[in-house]
């Protein structure tokens, strides 16, 4: 029996689902192992009989709360896919304003038609079995997780910072180039893709289990960021976490 998989979107750009469609060759291989029964972005048929639910997006409405609870009831395994689902992500920027303000900015006079609550990651509402962080989520991690589920093996995310993969990639450190970076406290698994492409780490994969935030802040300050700059940097993807408050 092939396990049945469903993809469900909440508040997000749906880019993580697009990533799945971008798998190409691997998608064909994957479909030999699983049945996709619910995937709004890719197919019209949909079924509520699924074993594994991939959640794309943060929870930002009351309706979202009841919907995710329903999905949790059905799914034997629930996976938060992408930064929005894992961490709340960029959606949490709105949490630093009142909901009334947000509605007014976005919908103006039509504000009263809409329901909005502070953005939160999926695990703030229901238990999550596995996480695939990243903006967008990482294809290799997705495939590794599916294989692990099929083999009855625990999939684990790296518990070391991006610096590990960045050094192994042979990159010149962002700080040495006179810029700043959240790599030293951000969970690896992305192969330091942003630094390798000439940018810096924004922390989209969330923090490692026991980050040395004090040390990171000190280093950022030494390299020219103000306390406000640092807060803004963390809020970009990690607004739901204590570090951004």
């Amino acid at each position: 029996m092939k396990p049945k998989i469903g993809f469900f979107d909440f508040t997000s750009c749906e880019g993580c689902q697009l990533e799945v469609l971008n798998f190409e060759g691997e998608l064909v291989e994957l479909l030999k192992l699983v049945d996709i029964v619910n995937f709004r972005e890719a197919m019209t048929e949909k079924s509520d009989d699924y074993d594994i639910a991939f959640i794309d997006g943060a929870i930002t409405t009351e309706a979202g709360i009841s919907r995710i609870k329903k999905i949790r009831k059905q799914a034997a395994v629930l996976i938060a896919m992408g930064t929005c689902a894992c961490l709340g992500g960029i959606n949490c920027l709105k949490n630093f304003r009142t909901m009334e303000e947000n509605l007014k900015i976005v919908y103006g006079d039509a504000a009263h038609y809409y329901d909005t609550i502070p953005a939160r990651p999926v695990d703030a509402v229901v238990p999550v079995d596995y996480y695939l962080p990243g903006c967008p989520m990482n294809k290799d991690e997705f495939i590794t997780l599916v294989k692990a589920l099929l083999l009855n093996k625990k999939a684990r995310l790296p518990n070391y910072p991006v610096c590990v993969e960045c050094k192994l990639a042979g990159n010149v450190c962002v700080f040495e180039k006179g810029e700043t970076c959240l790599g030293p406290v951000t969970r690896a698994g992305c192969k330091a893709i942003c630094v390798t492409s000439g940018r810096h780490c924004w922390g989209c994969r969330g923090l490692v289990n026991d980050p040395n935030i004090d040390s990171e802040k000190e280093i950022l300050q030494k390299h020219g960021l103000t306390t406000a700059d640092i807060l803004e940097r963390f809020r970009h993807f990690n607004g739901y976490l204590e570090v951004s408050k």
Binding site: L33, C163, V164, K167, L168, V185, V208, N212
Partner: protein
């Protein structure tokens, strides 16, 4: 063996001759104002006056990730060893990195022969070059790694318009036979080599206060020092120090399987004691679960454990870790000097 001399221009011709013969050459190239080892396509790319590379050349002998076994679990699981080793030339290796490779040679051939490493090592021809332009964080003279008289097939020293070439092995000698423009080095040229080396020694900015052979004793007394906690307070557990280290050779082993869930490989990949989960065990529990104990363990490996186990220093003083550490706590020399200050 007598030493040879080759003009810089002729060295380039030599490199290009090797390349045209189909030799794979891994050498030092510029990278965003720094230097990195990489595959050489033309002699013009090769830098021999670099201070230090971002990553050590030992990664070409002990790759960041390397398959150990291939397996197939279709019916009855079957596995076969994978040992990959293609001949190549590691070009422009500094003496401290040569000494680091010698440590790996010892570590991977002591007690149990690691054929994966040893095969690749045997396939490598090492052409060293003296480091005349040391990295500001380096302390090679203190670690006895500023120069070396072994561990290479050929060793170059820049004496201005040409290189003095020391021959370290028959393989090196044979390689040089393909280079018709070498001359016997004259006394004058050998004297210039010595002068260049002396000049380089004067450029090191960091030095160890303790004689190298006394390091284990120093550390023997320092286990309970409060400095370990103070020093490691800012540690990010980011692994930068150990990822760039030429003498770190610890690894993790994992299985990876294809999407058919039938064919796969067991591989090893770089792992290191500064990472949080390094000493964690399956049943839960972590034997070094705080940054202080991890930091101390690394320093003891660098200054004591490796030396006692393999008879060679666990640190070659290259300074890569100190350059890579944002918290500015990674330099073994600095740490050992603080310990020495405290123990006085």
């Amino acid at each position: 063996m007598t030493e040879k001399v080759l003009s810089k221009q002729n060295l380039n011709i030599f490199i290009n001759t090797l390349l045209s013969r189909g030799e794979e050459i891994v050498g030092v190239k510029k990278k965003e104002g720094k230097y990195a080892f990489g595959k050489i396509a033309d002699a013009e790319e090769v830098c021999l006056d670099y201070d230090i590379t971002l990553l050590p050349p030992s990664m070409y002998l002990l790759p960041q990730r390397e398959a150990l076994l291939k397996f197939n679990i279709a019916e009855r699981p079957v596995a076969s060893p994978v040992i990959e080793a293609n001949p190549f030339i590691l070009f422009g290796v500094h003496p401290y990195d040569i000494k680091a490779i010698e440590l790996l040679d010892t570590a991977f051939s002591t007690d149990n022969l690691d054929t994966n490493y040893l095969s690749r090592r045997e396939a490598a021809t090492i052409i060293g070059v003296d480091c005349l332009n040391p990295n500001p964080n380096a302390f090679c003279p203190s670690m006895d790694t500023a120069f070396t008289d072994k561990g290479y097939d050929l060793l170059l020293t820049d004496i201005g318009d040409s290189y003095v070439i020391a021959i370290g092995s028959e393989r090196g000698q044979a390689l040089l036979k393909g280079c018709p423009d070498t001359q016997e080095a004259t006394q004058v040229e050998l004297k210039r080599k010595e002068e260049e080396r002396q000049k380089a020694l004067g450029q090191y900015k960091v030095a160890l206060d303790t004689p190298l052979e006394k390091l284990p004793q120093l550390l023997d007394k320092s286990w309970n020092s409060s400095l370990w906690e103070e020093r490691s307070e800012a540690c990010l557990s980011c692994g930068s120090c150990v990822m760039v280290c030429p003498t770190c050779f610890c690894f993790d082993v994992q299985d990876d399987i294809e999407l058919d869930l039938v064919e796969g490989e067991r591989y090893r990949q770089k792992d290191a004691c500064m990472l949080v989960d390094f000493a964690a065990v399956a049943g839960g529990g972590n034997f070094r679960d705080d940054k202080t104990s991890r930091y101390r363990h690394r320093m003891y490996r660098k200054g004591k454990y490796i030396m006692e186990r393999f008879g060679k220093p666990g640190c070659v003083g290259c300074g890569r870790c100190a350059s890579a550490c944002l918290a500015e706590i990674a330099s073994p020399a600095e740490t050992f000097n603080l310990m020495r200050g405290e123990s006085k």
